[in-house]
Subunit: 346 residues, 2 copies
Amino acid sequence: MAPRVTLKTVAQAAGVSPSTVSNAYNKPDQLSAAVRERILATAQELGYAGPDASARALRSGKAGSVGVLFTSQLSYAFSDPYAVGFLAGLAEIAEEFATSLLLMPVSSTDVRSGTNAVRQAAIDTAAIFCVDRGHPALEVLKNRGIPTVSTQRGHDLADGWVAINELDAAAAMGEHLSRLGHRDVVVLVDNHEAIGGRPIELDLDRIDCDDCSLRIQGLRKTMPDAQFRVVSGGHNAFDSGLAAASWVLDSQDRPTAIAGLSDVQALGAIEAMKARGLVPGRDLTVTGFDDIPAAEVAGLTTVRQPIKDKGRAVGRLLLDPGETQRHITLPTELVVRSSSGPAPRN
Amino acid sequence: MAPRVTLKTVAQAAGVSPSTVSNAYNKPDQLSAAVRERILATAQELGYAGPDASARALRSGKAGSVGVLFTSQLSYAFSDPYAVGFLAGLAEIAEEFATSLLLMPVSSTDVRSGTNAVRQAAIDTAAIFCVDRGHPALEVLKNRGIPTVSTQRGHDLADGWVAINELDAAAAMGEHLSRLGHRDVVVLVDNHEAIGGRPIELDLDRIDCDDCSLRIQGLRKTMPDAQFRVVSGGHNAFDSGLAAASWVLDSQDRPTAIAGLSDVQALGAIEAMKARGLVPGRDLTVTGFDDIPAAEVAGLTTVRQPIKDKGRAVGRLLLDPGETQRHITLPTELVVRSSSGPAPRN
DNA sequence: TCGTTTTTCTAGAACGATTTAGAAGATCGA
DNA sequence: TCGATCTTCTAAATCGTTCTAGAAAAACGA
């Protein structure tokens, strides 16, 4: 087998030292244009595709990629346009810094494999997207000395975060619902216990997802008189929302409002209503969270959060050395559309 | 600053050679359990998080990650559940082989930055997802000697492909439409010229997307008497389909059928019809391609392709040394639902 | 008991680049 | 013309592993 073409090979062929070849690629102003051109030409001739990524990473201590950690399977992670928007914003900044994204699903059920992946990944920094506190993968990152930025506030193991004020955002929604006279609310959450099975009702005070419990707290804060039930149909996805809402609608005891903790779930709930000939906003109120593009089309009342900006901000905290902030709170806005209306009097 | 903890540090502290520490992590059966335990304990004590990824990658020649190349921005790439499904299948196999996914958007407009990213990426193999022939990034991969598997047939630079028979799949759809009496069809495609602008009509014989032109050929094959127009509203996305279909529906010359070359675009077209009080399958036929989950909900007639399997197959071709096949053709199936019906007689 | 095999561990050379410090030659100001 | 400064290039060390070959010790078979 032909020996691999390396910097050295090229250097010999071009009659210069390896350092010079390296400079030809990385520091063009450190050598004469003539020599640089000659080097690049011989490189081309020999079929040399440029410095090896691993070697460069080792020597320079920079892998040139940021890890993206998220719970849940990949398939579900990206079924939510919210996640995709985040990734898009992050990718935008990554591209600016000539950095690529290394996807690392760290399941919350099979902790082992994800954690191992994190241990072995060649990354400089990591974005932590909706991974709950206490996941061992976070500890690994800490141990490896990898700077991290989380999408959740006060993630103790993270070096920074970019988030919204979940409590206030949900409180605004609660106030809206309260004004409309709603006193009986079902909250739709994602929950891994419900995955692959029937929808389940969860104990109000024992929600395992950090953001979810904050949002529920927010709702309760401005709806002190209301009765709350928490239901999950599985993953954070349209189908789960559809399943959970169907179950709720077919039960004896319908609420006057269904508050999805994400738009995708809320849209599933709307679908469930339509299938039963019910009109959202008239027969029953449905609200979401995030304001993904489809929410507008569906007329969904929701809380807008600037998701792409969130991705961008995380990217900058991770990659821009000039960025001095460590904690960023992004604004949210209640968006009222047709899916919410006054609670029917009985 | 405290010097970094390395294999060597741990070796010294544990009173063994570096090789042994390495073996403790990588080849547990090469040393006694007692020593291994002692090593792991001291490692823990010193805060050593395991062998450095870059160094390992350099020495062993394995980066432990596969690159995923795709055209178009990340945000659009994942707005299509089809792409997400592919990625999910690929991720499944990647996980099996303890490999991570390195996302690499290679725009077809700004070729430069994407190609550079590919040049520098630490990857062992690459999956090429809907990247058109002739993109320079493919040449870079070839030069670097990186094995690639494409989602398109006969990608000359790729070492393998996993695809469907685009021609036959589209021909089946064409036959269906033909039987229903359709002779005037508008085809919805994605096209970068239309991005950010108004929908445009494209010349039938000059479609730049490989798969698109194959699918159009397939339709024409079984609809020799039909008149075809090709329209694009931009990226492959719901919004583009909505925009393009709206434009078509508001024009003087409505077709009897709109054939989206992807489900997301077709769903956009259905939305456009609904907004105008038209019923899909009765007033106008709409068909898609892919059979994403939402297609069933919407009653969209489409061609099913096993997208997750495609991702899995690509993953196996890339990662499983036991896999001897280089080219895999997956089956497709015409799925007739309510969005297609007989062409109205005039 | 003695050679042979197996187990357990180690020394030292890679892997392919970047970096640091500095040499040689060119350019410059006075 | 001479020392100082710049430009252009190089030698050698280094990054943190894994790998190859082999040594030392233990176990084994007869």
